[in-house]
């Protein structure tokens, strides 16, 4: 079998990378479980935490994905000045550190936020952000950008030739939806929903702070409690297994649903849309984009407004932490590529289930991975000396599922469209990677790298478990400022963090998309 031998060769590095990821995630879990003394297992409190976690995650994923459809559609069929910048800006909440984002949301929706101030001024009853709806609102705030980007990517993956054909056939928006957009959504949405479900599954601080109390207990908080309140490592490992099982189930369902044929290929022409030019739809899209932009950007703008004055007062230790964070972010990005590219190639070559292994990254609790790594590393080396490499590795693994979701469909399309031609030209091995796959994947790679670097910048992650006074990342330094009452300086550090996260994301993302203009 000529074809499959090539396929096996292409899948092998991916299998190795996937095995490595599984070894780190599951190995640390086993390490924690083995270290456990007799615990009390899962009680009613844990089961109710599991129920709440799944419930809020389903709601959050559903709302994020459903709201992303009109936003992505509006962005896909409108061309306006600053559109690219807006699309990048809309990604900002996703890469924000949790505490910063929560502060931003509260500045808008909180008890003394601008929404309630306005309602008070108008003599209207106030609204409370605290409760399940607040949790969902915050998760939509975090994940709508990701959902929008994934769905928008789906829209952009429909070759412009198809829209041209549709325009030629006199299709209206409804016909276009039925023949082009609905199949694309059916292919894109399950994956996007699964990934957001998985993210929200491991939510902790957001769910607790906005959930308003113990009724909003998530599995991650239960893990935290098992660790530090009861030192019940067995229960922590058990809960981590539950989390992995839930994410795994969601991933398999999503992969099954989204494993459909692509749209074939076009000639990379700039997509032009001839439909939806009537005034009503134009107004609808404008309103959608405006609301999404307000919802996503306003809280961040308030964070910036609040913190910017403190920027010049930041002590040098914050700047050196920023440098450390940048280096970790770059290291994470390189590691992510080394893991994600082989897995994406293998997953796009028919081993679709490999992508599910990547999802382990969000399924796994950072606390469990961190503790597991600690248990594994401690006998052979000083964990503190390895704080930065360990943080970079864990951040890379955490970003893996997003990178894969971004890359796998593009790999699959490249295979579907160019396999015969490249095979007939003997374009194999490194040449295939260099001349075909990487150029075809460039926008996806740029997006994935940007996301990884930015997430790594903003992640408090496992560094807190390993830090000594000199090894601080920017988020950790920000928390230290808060812990020392320096809320003003902390908000300045938050702005710096935001600027760096966004800047690094912008550079990678723009680098990836640069050729599309050529």
């Amino acid at each position: 079998m000529v074809r499959s031998s090539v396929a096996i060769n292409r899948a092998l590095p991916g299998k190795i990378a996937a095995a490595l990821v599984a070894a780190i995630v599951l190995g640390t879990l086993v390490a924690v479980a083995l270290r456990a003394e007799a615990g009390r297992g899962l009680g009613p409190a844990e089961w109710s935490a599991i129920r709440f976690t799944v419930f809020q995650a389903v709601l959050s994923a559903a709302f994020s994905v459903l709201l992303a459809i009109p936003v992505a559609r509006a962005l896909a069929r409108r061309r306006f000045y600053g559109r690219r910048l807006l699309i990048s800006l809309l990604g900002a909440p996703f890469i924000l550190p949790v505490i910063v984002a929560v502060m931003g949301l509260l500045a808008v929706f909180g008890r003394s936020g601008i929404l309630n101030e306005t309602l008070r001024a108008l003599g209207l009853p106030e609204v409370s952000i605290y409760g399940l709806h607040g949790v969902v609102l915050a998760h939509v705030f975090f994940n709508l950008p990701l959902a929008t980007r994934l769905v928008l990517q789906g829209w952009q993956d429909i070759p412009s030739e198809r829209f041209r054909l549709a325009a030629q056939l006199g299709f209206g928006p409804r016909d276009i939806f039925r023949t082009l957009e609905a199949p694309m959504l059916a292919r894109t949405l399950p994956g996007a929903a699964a990934i957001i479900f998985a993210i929200c599954l491991s939510s902790f601080a957001v769910a607790l702070t906005l959930g308003g109390g113990p009724r909003a207990t998530t599995v991650e908080l239960a893990i935290y409690q098992a660790f530090r309140f009861d030192f019940d490592l067995g229960r922590a490992a058990l809960l981590s297994c539950v989390q992995i099982a839930l994410v795994g189930a969601a991933a398999l369902v999503a992969l099954k649903l989204s494993n459909r044929d692509g749209f074939g290929t076009g000639l990379d022409r700039t997509v032009q849309r001839w439909d939806a030019q009537n005034t009503l739809l134009r107004a609808l899209d404008t309103t959608t984009i405006t609301f999404a932009a307000l919802f996503l950007i306003l809280p961040i703008a308030l964070v910036i407004l609040r913190g910017a004055p403190a920027l010049t007062d930041l002590p040098t230790s914050v700047w050196s932490a920023a440098l450390a964070s940048l280096l970790i972010a770059l290291a994470s990005t390189i590691l992510m590529l080394a893991l994600a590219l082989p897995i994406a190639i293998a997953a796009g070559t028919g081993r679709a289930r490999l992508e599910a292994i990547g999802l382990l990254g969000i399924a796994a609790s950072p606390l469990v991975i961190g503790t597991g790594l600690f248990i594994v590393i401690n006998p052979i080396a000083n964990p503190f000396a390895l704080a930065l490499p360990v943080t970079a590795t864990v951040n890379a693994i955490m970003a893996l599922p997003f990178a894969l979701r971004i890359m796998v469909p593009a790999v699959r399309d490249t295979h579907a469209n160019y396999d015969r031609l490249s095979t007939s030209l003997n374009l194999t091995g490194l040449s295939w990677l260099r001349l075909l796959l990487i150029p075809r994947l460039r926008p996806n790679l740029g997006f994935a790298c940007g996301l990884t670097a930015a997430m790594s910048m903003g992640d408090l992650g496992v560094i807190a478990l390993f830090a000594d006074p000199q090894t601080a990342t920017l988020p950790l330094q920000m928390y230290r400022l808060m812990g020392a009452y320096r809320m003003e300086l902390a908000s300045g550090a938050a702005v710096l963090l935001l600027a760096l996260s966004f800047g690094i994301f912008w550079i990678f993302d723009k680098g990836g998309r640069a050729h599309a203009d050529a």
């Binding site: 095979t423 003997n426 040449s431």
Partner: protein, 230 residues
Amino acid sequence: MLTLDALTLTQDDFQLTADLTVATGSRTAIIGPSGAGKSTLLAAISGFLPPKHGHIRWQDTDLTQLPPGSRPIAMLFQDNNLFPHLTVAQNVGLGLRPNLRLTQNEQAKVAAALARVGLADMPDRKPAQLSGGQQSRVALARVLVQSRPLILLDEPFAALGPALKTDMLDLVAALLDETNATLLMVSHDPTDARRIANQTILVADGKAHPPQDTQTLLDSPPDALKAYLG
């Protein structure tokens, strides 16, 4: 000589048999009803579909186990013959070296091939900046630099207009004259076959029939072909 020796091809429920030879230097059209297996036959010869039984030989070499890129074959598909992210020159250069690390001599060959197909002045364009006919010419330039003895065309010009298609077929014929390559060409248009192919393989009813003289076959078609020609 291309030999299809007691060949059985299967794809899902579909089965096609072929037991025939094609002479070196001949130009052979493959015609038959839609879905009869014309492209399947070409896929097997080019190595994309491993046969269930039988052998494919070129001269004295058994090709059956060779990967597509190692066969003495240059092929153009119905679509996706060019990589949209590579320039015209790069697309052609791939025919010489898949890693595109071309020597000066090879670069000269690419330039010459582009000149031969009339695209000397646009080596740096991307496919999207070319017309359909120009894209076909780029693909043909690559076939030219590949200088393989066997050329397979799976209706690459089907999307072009009649005049343009005629131009392309004439260009193919001219190139064949220069290289003495053997041509196998799928077509659903009898005039294409008459224009370029001296002999024709009829694919119908699960069988690829040995090549016959094109004029004779088309002038007095058997029943299966008659139904198709209408």
